[in-house]
Assembly symmetry: D2
């Protein structure tokens, strides 16, 4: 029987997770929520996803009809239909929401905008899927942490230990955001080291990692400039690292020079070319010609598609929490194949 999934918050992340869940044959999307009538409601109705209100207020629910949308009830009504809820709300309401989910006796998954402390459990498909088997709730780590896990976890497993420093060059605003800056400036995050890198340790405590971050005036993709110290006697070479990543799920390794993919703009253009919905790229992009292992120190660049790399991770997290699949690689393969079939790509 299909797992009944509710999505609380149908915005940038929620609308993507909804499609990804809808694509799976072992899951059923029982509804999505919006705060009030808006363009997102029209999108949900086009897709045929039942619409609920993020609150239980009768007035708020009634407002949807006025806006021309059919609202099936409040968040409590939606939770009653579900086995598990994916929280994709803006992330300042975590405490209130977790109490509500627990009160309704439902499993729950939060996003990386929330702190680890909220759930006490975090999730990354390649890092700690098995630790999440059957738990009541978890947090899918942020886009950056997910990206670091993808390339660092297999490296750690191949080497036995890792010490990592990452400088994150962060896009300043979402593509659809027309208010944030800076326009012509580089802005260092004056928290040194920053919180981004160490968040990896919530899913893989064995990896020692710190990070620095700067914001730059772009709207597409973060770039990580990474230095990883491998243990003595690691036995790896630049080529063997590349081979390893080429065999890793949700990692793309391509030559920038040969393919004329020399910047994040061209990475995104490739994602559009291969027909990805919203021009998304669920995979982490590693420039093959930007990887270099000198002695024990590995240098590389990777690019992260902020609003989409965590999407398939949410699907895997559902399977882990519901206990329907114990092998992370099997879940990842199933998730990704279903999404590709769904979009016909």
């Amino acid at each position: 029987m299909a797992i009944k999934v509710a999505i609380n918050g149908y915005g940038t992340i929620g609308k993507r997770v909804a499609d990804a869940v809808d694509a799976q044959d072992d899951m059923e999307l029982v509804g999505v929520t919006k705060t009030s009538p808006s363009f997102g409601c029209e999108l949900a109705q086009r897709k045929g996803f039942p619409l609920f209100c993020t609150s239980d207020s009768a007035a708020s629910i009634a407002a949807f009809a006025t806006g021309g949308f059919e609202c099936h009830g409040g968040i409590s009504d939606l939770l009653a239909l579900a086995d598990i809820v994916i929280d994709c709300s803006p992330g300042i309401t975590g405490d209130e929401n977790i109490a509500r989910y627990r009160g309704a006796g439902k499993k729950f998954i939060f996003q990386g905008g929330e702190k680890h402390a909220l759930t006490g459990q975090s999730f990354s498909s390649s890092a700690n899927y098995s630790e999440n088997l059957g738990v009541a709730g978890t947090r899918v780590v942020s886009c950056n942490t997910t990206g670091l896990s993808r390339t660092l976890v297999p490296l750690y497993e191949a080497c036995g230990s890792l010490k990592v420093e990452c400088t994150m060059i962060r896009r300043a605003a979402d593509p659809g955001d027309s208010t944030k800056g800076p326009i012509n400036a580089i802005k260092p995050v004056l928290e040194v080291p920053s919180h981004h890198g160490p968040d990896v340790m919530t899913v893989k405590p064995e990896i020692e990692i710190n990070s620095l971050a700067v914001a730059v005036p772009t709207t597409i993709m973060h770039v990580h400039s990474i230095i990883a110290d491998l243990p003595e006697g690691h036995g790896m070479s630049t080529d063997s690292v590349l081979e390893m990543w080429k065999a890793t799920p949700r990692v793309i390794v391509m030559s920038g020079v040969e393919n004329r993919i020399t910047s994040t703009a061209e990475v995104m253009e490739m994602a559009r070319d291969i027909g990805r919905k919203w021009g998304d790229l669920h995979e982490i992009f590693v420039w093959e010609d930007g990887v270099s292992l000198l002695g024990d120190r590995l240098y590389y660049f990777q690019a992260i598609h902020q609003e989409s790399d965590v999407i398939p991770e949410n699907v895997d997290a559902i399977r882990a929490l519901m206990g329907v699949e114990s092998d992370w690689r099997a879940s990842v393969a199933k998730t990704d194949a279903a999404i590709k079939a769904y979009y016909g790509i």
Copy 2:
């Protein structure tokens, strides 16, 4: 029997036109060309489009096999299979190509990067479809001219005369282009008036129009700031203009404030949300709250998706030149419905 269509040049425009042609039940895509093996070839092969070489040189053709791609021959081989060819090459080879197409006795369609003089005939679905019925060759006008035709032609037809001034605020580079600037500057086009506006007169000579243009550091959409003088006794109002455009094919009229679509970034996000391939928007976007008719002078803003608004126009142009459909509205409706069905949106 389906019209056999060849596409010469499988780049930014060519790859989009290929899909749009492939979507039509009265057309058959017989092949696309590339200069040499590259990522675009892989894309064509994934789609199942037969690949040809832009030249007839045996060495150039053989190079594809070395790159791992199956090449079915040179441009002459492709032309032999086709009824009509869409020229989507970079646009500096117009003279050479037109001679080749004429030599092969095939109909041909060029893009707006070429001058009107090359073909002596231009095309815009809403402006002069019928003038193109059965002709040997034409030129689909540029993205900007297409955008101006979409909103100005119905206005002209409602009023009987029009005098227009347009300031074009142009994105400086394509989204996948990582070399062009300016980064922090506004760059006026020091050709005053610019050639952009008057190009409308190649498809609708009755509209008197001039334009000024500036380039700005963005990669998504051009914006037109338009002033149109209507004749005395025009009988229009702001509301009647809006109603007219809402009923016009390939024009979207939406309130910016109500829908939080206040910039080109948000227009493009909407296009991604509704599932458009490459995040394209074939329609011209008019901000409803940016339209104002004061006396005889109409003010409005519209946004143009540079790489996609001409795509469906190419499909219509095929029908006009082949003489299979005499009513432009019927062709437009058929083209657009087929594209939507093709992408499942």
Copy 3:
């Protein structure tokens, strides 16, 4: 005896006006205000400008000493020393401040961020200097209105009537602002026509003008794309318009192509090259090769340095209000010569 000038607000505009006043031999800067101790206080002390507090609160005044700065008192103490006050405060405190200035019996000058209604009188050196002779208070119009006045007033005077449309391509943020966007978007101002152009009529009601505006992701200079309809029988030519502007104070006319000044970035680089403080450009920049008179319609582009074109206008306004100079051209010449001598350029 020198005119005693107070400056209320020592920020982006205030610090520039302070230098410009300090440069004049018929004026004495008696003090500048800051809200609280900050980097601006250090700047005032380096320059030797007496520092006062924007409020009269003893606690606020005392805070300066804690920050290591000498504060000479509150705004009332400063007003007591002055003949006239230039209000350079952020512009949300106009009503409160005007009452204070009137209560102290002092003349006052506001900036273009305030509405005309606040003072009932506006000022632009070339447009209406003489109307401001001896009045109690005025408002120096905004950077955009000042820029339009500079080129349109002499044109009006040469022709006898003018009908103008202007599209303003506005930089989105100040150079020192690292928070505002949009980053990769063009944002139309959905007030059509916008309020910018018609503000010219507060200083030259005879010029009929409307405007449209868009914001773009740059931090340097606004650009105006202008269409001006001259009356029949105007007798002007492109060349005579250029000659007229070359003879107009505070207007620079240069060929973009010959001087490789093809964008606002290069205009600003020229301002730095010729040694202007802060890289400012008090003049309006007109691209010579962007001016074209076709029949009765004149097309041109001009660039406006947002934070500095109004600076010398404030100095002229002081002379007008104090009634010490009745000829606007004489004041302008004196102001500009003194500023150049002050900076040694």
Copy 4:
């Protein structure tokens, strides 16, 4: 007797070095060169700097008169007048120029755009001034290498050894450049490690250093994200590192949060505020709140003003090569005081 200095190339760097040399009482600027008549010639004439031609061709020299400029001869004429020449030409003519200078028997200084191998000797005031005493020619290292030397050399001297990794976030274009991109992209330099960091070893071979670089769409300042490993028992603390840098010439240490200088835009605004010509900042800017020493690993951010940090270094290099001052700190103090007095700041 003053050292006679020629400057070959009066562009972005040359015009700044010319002023800096002109400011020194122990130096005399005997002339600057331009390739052909242009705006730079006017600038030189305004400053009263004798103008020469970069070639000895009679036709090229004569062209200046046609352009309305007085040309005093060719490069050979200029060299004949000089004791030393500063090469500020675009940097593709190094081999040809060095032969010319040697042929004329003159000392010479190249810029960091040239490779170390050209001269076999490099220069950074704080790193290796004394090694340059009396040599025939040298190369002032690039803006980035100069910036790294400023903060790393004193750190090395305090600790005895250093191992450094630096990620350079580079502005993509000069402020006056309106052609280069990328506009909305982050572009990694696919040379890993990059050549930038190791260039420090041309002036301080004892510092072990590697670097990675990315280009971002800004025109002002590079930012370095630095990780430096100190030797065991280094005895330093975050505070002692800050105290050391505060006492280091040409390094500015300021709190970003307290001074609202949170990005490169605001650093540059401060430079304009304190009256620096061209808005330049000769000093390296270190964010005080971005420095953190954790165990043996030091993290910090610094910002580099690309077109100006090397300017005073060129002046020091003249003194070193001419052997008129043996103490680097004395030269630096003299250079900087003279520049400040020259601009009256």
